[in-house]
């Protein structure tokens, strides 16, 4: 399949499955591993495009479902796509719109044709098909678009999982056929198969044949145990083509990012940093600060020493305590900080891979965040052990 991207690995970790790369997309290069902030409705929570660029962000997400509603396909076609619409000149990635359908709508039903649901207004049947998803995403014009997949919860068992896997393959074919702009938009396939290694293997084999520019690991939508989650991720990265980017959708917290990079994942997205910001929670290397708490009233330090975001270069926790959740500026500042935190984390991860000291970085990261080894999440310890990093017995080297 035609590809509108280039994937150049610049370094491989000597210990884990991690790699550092440059992903060149139509709207510019992206350093990988990469965390993509989520600007659902064509905006990143009160932060201007200039500010997002200033944070070093090279790619962010828009949500097809939401943009399809508002402003809608027609308007996007008129103005030339989501980049122009929101004044963002760097890269965008859109999901298929399918997940919202399934998760939001009580009356959604998956059929072979697509996702069918009843309009709440008049009860008439409506349908989101692979073709329509492609059409919408073509209008949005994101540099990376996702296939419409048949998503099942990872907690589902039984034949439904396999059915969804095969259907996702069939829908991938329909997406590829319907995709009108492969020269400027990259379609990624989404590997399904639940928690079943055999199904995952089969799905990968089939989807790889379709030769899409990149692949995502889907269906790990939470609810499953983390210890199962990482095994699926690791299996996928083992089997997926290594000369293409691998994207794990919906991940995640800082520790999830670090572990998944070690397992070989290149791309991530998560609403958590910006969402939690609106509740006044600031992310730092040593944990989360709930700035609404009275204990910060007389804390005259910046959120995080060494952070160069505008919040940390301007204000103390004591002042932020008085404005978070009360003034919009408070919200913007924490959103900027949390986004800066995530992007900085990935930058540091990437640098450590290039300098081949990623394992040391991992040790330090966990120590800073969890302090005591007894507090290290077991799933993370297991996952890292599988790629030769022993958090418990191993030593962090200078």
């Amino acid at each position: 399949m035609k590809s509108a991207l280039k994937w150049d690995v610049v370094a491989k970790c000597g210990t884990t499955k991690a790699r550092a790369a440059v992903l060149t997309l139509p709207h510019g290069p992206v350093n990988a591993p990469v965390f993509m902030p989520v600007g659902t409705q064509g905006t990143l929570k009160g932060i201007t495009p200039d500010q997002i660029e200033g944070l070093g962000c090279q790619i962010m997400l828009n949500n097809t479902y939401h943009l399809g509603l508002r402003p809608g396909q027609e308007l996007l076609d008129t103005c030339g796509g989501a980049h122009v619409f929101q004044g963002w000149n760097r890269n965008l990635l859109t999901d298929s719109g399918g997940f919202q359908m399934v998760s939001l709508l009580k009356l959604a039903e998956i059929t072979e044709k697509g996702v069918q649901f009843e309009s709440p207004h008049d009860g008439s049947l409506m349908l989101l098909t692979p073709e329509h998803s492609m059409s919408l995403q073509n209008s949005i014009g994101a540099d990376i678009m996702m296939q419409l997949d048949d998503v099942v919860s990872s907690l589902t068992t039984g034949p439904r999982v396999e059915e969804a896997m095969w259907r996702s393959i069939r829908w991938l074919d329909r997406c590829i056929k319907a995709h009108k702009k492969p020269e400027s938009q990259n379609l990624f396939a989404i590997i399904q198969g639940g928690l079943d290694p055999a199904l995952r293997k089969q799905c990968i084999e089939e989807m790889v044949k379709r030769d899409t520019p990149g692949y995502a690991i889907g269906g790990l939508s939470g609810g499953e145990e983390k210890d199962k989650f990482w095994r699926v991720v690791s299996q996928c990265t083992d089997l997926m083509p290594r000369e293409k980017p691998i994207y794990c959708m919906g991940v995640g917290y800082a520790e999830d990012l670090v572990v998944c990079v070690a397992l070989g994942v290149d791309m991530f997205d998560c609403v958590f940093p910006t969402r939690t910001a609106r509740f006044g929670n600031a992310l730092t290397a040593t944990g989360t600060l709930s700035l609404r708490q009275a204990k910060f009233k007389d804390d005259f330090r910046p959120i995080e020493e060494g952070c160069d975001c505008i919040a940390c270069k301007s204000y103390t926790r004591a002042y932020l305590y008085t404005i978070v959740t009360k003034e919009t500026v408070g919200c913007h500042l924490i959103s900027i900080h949390n986004t800066a935190y995530q992007l900085r984390l990935m930058r540091q991860v990437r640098e450590s891979i290039i300098e081949d000291r990623f394992p040391q970085f991992i040790h330090k990261f966990f120590k800073d965040l969890f302090v005591e080894k007894t507090a290290y999440p077991e799933w993370a310890v297991n996952a890292l052990k599988s790629v030769n990093v022993d958090l418990i017995q191993g030593e962090e080297q200078p």
């Binding site: 659902t40 409705q41 939401h66 508002r70 809608g72 999901d95 919906g250 008085t322």
Partner: protein, 600 residues
């Protein structure tokens, strides 16, 4: 005492006669704009007058982070004590660090300017948020500003986010000494408990304000300004103690049956006792730290009574060390504009010409023009903020139609409301040729802002605020030019003819806004363990300081059964917009307005 402030009036290049003669251009700055430690990094801006201080809430200009704030050309920020003074302050000021804990400002004394990241902006500190208190821009949905209890001889009353608070002179002085703003307004008895004070109350307010002013001026010079108050307190205390002693002695004597002896003792006390009524008590004067580096503005009041206004202005004008005047209009808020301006004029007539005057409220462009013509130098930016909260964007201009402004843009409108459906498909900037960060390079369009409003995204107010503030500063720039070249009157008349008057703010929200907010409320109700303090809507959150910030689409948890997923599956956001379903699937996409009008 050399003033820490410098106000220089410029000569107009052409003289005009008649109306507008009192208008003048000037520059308002600190005498020492550059800090001397450690490396001259902070250089305070100058305010060109007539000009503005930026209105703030809780010490921050609404919607503008420090970087976006500095794209505005205004030179200073107005900070209200009632917004920022915490419940345990001034007491807990002792917990503040001496110097800035922010590494890039290492070594700078940690004053209010540092704390609020306003180092390069003139920090003007007043006690109350007069724009809000006067209801001059009350948001339709917020409750009216509280009528506070009356100030007393001992304290003034503030309306803080945590409730009503009394601030004594002592507390005020401690605060000023600690904050060290560039300019502070003297504590005054501005009448807040009624808009129809009687003559006695008005006279009291002027008297009290003048008394406090005298004390403040003494303290500012390092002298003991509160000695008289402390003497009164000591007198009271001793009288109390004496009464207490008498009572105890009487009780004891009674118990011991020594009534007679007790009476004898009492007589002795009268002669040899510690306190004899009428006797002067010696109070040790406390040397105080001067704060002559802080500029002082004084409020001249007198409510609606001409005699009182004259008295207040005349007496205040006599005082040495006053750097500027605030013309009080708080108790005039129920009068029509012309009456208010008349009272302003009364005050102005008795104030020295060479000092700057600030006026709150009366901030719509045509009001500004009238006030400028009378000689007012400083205003605040609550007007552009008010427009922003309503979803409006300014289009007015002053003087000849600026180059680059498209005639076909129907520029005779003062403003547009970006909530209106008609903007939904307009891929043009708010104002062609406008240099603000929203409009510049046609980066953000009317359609986009309309979309942001309808999706309840905070970027809407960030863009609108940037634009409205920019337009307001442009307006002032052009007004200043008109004063200089003698065209003020002519341009002001033309402005009125072109743009009319600011429409009265109704108590109704835009219908589209009602719909969006209803959907949001519904979603928030469904939030599991919703965290308090975050429910709020555009327009409401900022008008009432204690309400939460605006919240966006992601605060929705997924429907049915996926609660455990909420942490994990965050890439695909659950936006619980109802009628939306139709939109995605139908080939013919309905307009954004319609989709948002059908909540689930």
């Amino acid at each position: 005492m050399t003033s820490p402030l410098k106000f220089q009036i410029k000569q107009a290049s052409t003289k005009t006669s008649g109306a507008g003669e009192s208008a003048r251009c000037g520059t308002f700055a600190l005498s020492q704009p550059a800090s001397t430690v450690p490396d001259q990094q902070h250089v305070k801006r100058t305010i060109e007058t007539p000009g503005c201080l930026m209105y703030s809430q809780k010490g921050a200009v609404p919607h503008l982070t420090p970087d976006n704030l500095r794209q505005q050309s205004f030179g200073g920020v107005n900070v209200s004590l009632e917004h920022i003074l915490q419940t345990d302050q001034p007491g807990s000021f002792s917990k503040w660090p001496e110097t800035s804990p922010i590494s890039q400002f290492n070594g700078y004394k940690f004053t209010l300017s540092e704390y609020l990241r306003l180092q390069d902006l003139i920090t003007f500190c007043d006690l109350r948020d007069y724009s809000f208190a006067a209801d001059t821009f009350r948001h339709p949905t917020s409750p009216p500003a509280k009528k506070l209890a009356s100030n007393t001889d001992h304290h003034t009353v503030l309306s803080t986010p945590k409730g009503i608070r009394q601030l004594t002179l002592d507390g005020y002085l401690k605060t000023v000494r600690h904050y060290r703003p560039d300019v502070v307004v003297a504590m005054a008895d501005t009448i807040a408990e009624t808009t129809t004070p009687n003559e006695k109350r008005v006279r009291k307010s002027v008297e009290r304000s003048l008394k406090w002013l005298d004390q403040i001026l003494l303290e500012r010079n390092g002298q003991d300004g509160t000695i008289a108050d402390r003497r009164v307190e000591e007198e009271k205390k001793r009288r109390r103690e004496r009464k207490e002693k008498k009572r105890n002695a009487a009780a004891a004597a009674k118990a011991a049956g020594e009534q007679q002896e007790h009476e004898q003792k009492q007589e002795q006390d009268q002669v040899h006792g510690e306190y004899k009524k009428g006797e002067e008590i010696y109070i040790e004067p406390i040397p105080s730290e001067p704060w002559t580096d802080v500029g002082l503005f004084v409020t001249v009041g007198g409510a609606h009574l001409e005699e009182s206004r004259v008295w207040s202005a005349q007496e205040t004008a006599k005082k040495e060390g006053v750097d500027g005047f605030v013309i009080d209009t708080l108790s005039l808020s129920e009068l029509d504009k012309d009456s208010r301006l008349k009272h302003v004029q009364t005050s102005l007539a008795h104030l020295p010409e060479n000092k700057p005057k600030l006026l709150y409220g009366l901030h719509a462009p045509e009001d500004v023009l009238e006030a400028v013509a009378m000689g007012i130098d400083l205003f605040d930016t609550s007007y552009p903020f008010q427009l922003t909260e309503d979803g409006k964007a300014s289009l007015y201009y002053y003087g000849p139609r600026p180059a680059g402004q498209d005639k076909s843009n129907s520029n005779t409108l003062r403003s547009i409301n970006l909530w209106d459906d008609e903007h939904g498909d307009k891929f043009v900037p708010i104002l062609e040729g406008c240099g603000c960060y929203a409009c510049k390079d046609n980066k953000h369009t009317r359609a986009y802002i309309n979309h942001l409003l309808k999706t309840h995204e905070m970027l809407a107010t960030v863009l609108l605020m940037g634009h409205n503030m920019y337009q307001y500063s442009q307006f002032f720039t052009l007004v200043r030019e008109s004063i200089q070249d003698g065209t003020l009157q002519e341009n002001s008349v033309a402005f009125g003819a072109t743009f009319g008057k600011e429409p009265i703010r109704t108590l109704e929200k835009h219908p589209n806004q009602v719909i969006v907010e209803a959907a949001l409320q519904k979603r928030n109700q469904r939030l599991d363990g919703a965290e308090e303090g975050v429910v709020g809507v555009i327009g409401m959150g900022s008008a009432v300081p204690s309400l939460g910030a605006a919240v966006g689409a992601e605060d929705v948890e997924m429907e049915d059964g996926n609660k455990s997923n909420k942490k994990r599956h965050e890439s695909d956001e659950a936006g619980e917009d109802g009628g939306s379903k139709d939109e995605v699937v139908e080939k013919k996409v309905k307009k954004a307005a319609e989709s948002s009008s059908s909540p689930l």
